[in-house]
Amino acid sequence: MLRIDAAAYRSPWRRLHPAVKATFCGGLAVCALALPPWPGAAITALVVLVAAFGPARVAPRTFARSARAPLLFILTGAATLLVSVGGPEGLVAWAPGGWQRAAEISGRAAAALSCQLLFAFTTPLAEVLPRLVRLGLPPALVEVTSLIYRMLFVILDTAHRVHTAQAGRLGHETWRSWIRSVGSLGAAIFVRSFDRARRMQQGLAGRGYTGDLTVLVDATPLRAASVAVAALPPLLVAAIALTWRMMG
């Protein structure tokens, strides 16, 4: 239903402890943002893409499709850096060094984006959420977040079907009818969401729900060695990029 989510459950890296992947992807994201963009962001992006399309076996087309919208956003933002306003050369003028700045910033952002995508494509949320309690987050918050994760698929499914039904009944023919359709869709999913909550409450009461949604979480052991190994590529990238700068 959601491309990234579905792929994460099929990922060969699914069994890795989330903390290991967080170290790897997070470390590389820090490289992308903190190192000098050339060659830091470039090397980071290269390492992430090799890892994604190599051992993590993320489908390149799916990856590209997910990256499209955020990349477009990055490029729109970067485009504004090409011009400067209110300078001596008139209201709008080409910014001095604008191209370089825009390229640096888009490069950084794109590299950081691929780190985030790699993590999302290999780490199912169902395995991250219950572990958040160990990071010190309040259990009530974590349980609510897990419930949102479960229920959003049910509601999304409903929204999708109501949307299709409205299209079938010519609900998107004109601008006016479209607004009416989206409005009634919003109202419908609101009512259905709370109906779901009420029904789930009845469904869980029989299973002994008294206020805590305690479940068994698989104990994937977190080994310090794995974290260390995961931290190695980011450190290596940092070392190479910094050496390059010093040599250059």
């Binding site: 239903m1 491309r3 579905a6 792929a7 489908a59 087309r61 799916t62 409903t158 079907r161 109501v162 299709t164 039904a165 409205q166 299209a167 079938g168 009944r169 010519l170 609900g171 023919e173 004109t174 009818s177 009634s184 869709l185 109202a187 419908a188 009512v191 259905r192």
Partner: protein
Amino acid sequence: MLAGQGLSYVYDSNGSEPVFTSLDVEVHAGEVLGVLGPNGGGKTTLLRLLSGSLTPTTGAVALAEGPVKANRRGLSELRRRVQLVFQDPDDQLFSASVAQDVSFGPLNQGLATEQARERVAWALAALGITDLADHPTHLLSYGQRKRVALAGAVAIRPQVLILDEPTAGLDPAGVESLLETLEELRASSGTTFVVSTHDVDLAYRWADRVLLLHRGIVGAGPARTILADADLLAAAQLRPAWGPAVAQALRAGGLLAEGEPGPVTPEELARRTVG
């Protein structure tokens, strides 16, 4: 009247298999076409393609005048002629009151208020729910909601009504009365029906022709012949219906003449036994 030509469809979740490839299907004017097959066999996908709610990956849907263009206008024309009614009525009811909900389609067609009002009244009457007109939708029973969802599609006056599991969730009395209503609608307005169902006995009784679908067409033809073929049914992961088994047993026992049609409901069988 309505046809699918070389249809194939792939749901875009990464690299998944197509639901079916190069599927040809023809719907004849005025008939009841039953579509049967296992879950995941492509029934709902086919219904959605035929009603324009999905766009085929390859192939095209055609009306009498020719293939439907994949643009806004083509789609809009298809939707005026072909209406799909979902299995779960709640997916189709999104207004607060029954009349308001049924008026959604006619108003979107661009009808004036007065005409739209007539359409609503007519559709409610056709479904036998005129007295529900100003009821709030969320206080109706499941069977009533199903009828309101049907009225919403009927109000657009389509030539073809596509029904996804119309009897699912209804109790036996509800099934009977809905079938009666649909038959009346067919008689009075000449609507063509395409109906998906799991209920082989229902299809044997109601459909003129059937299509067995299991990631492609496994069998197609007159309901009485196709649904009596145990091998075809098995290929579509369906189970034999009572009707043909009873006819065969009665014939073998000399209780039914060779050309005579067998009973299609237990009531009919009981009547014949007594008579």
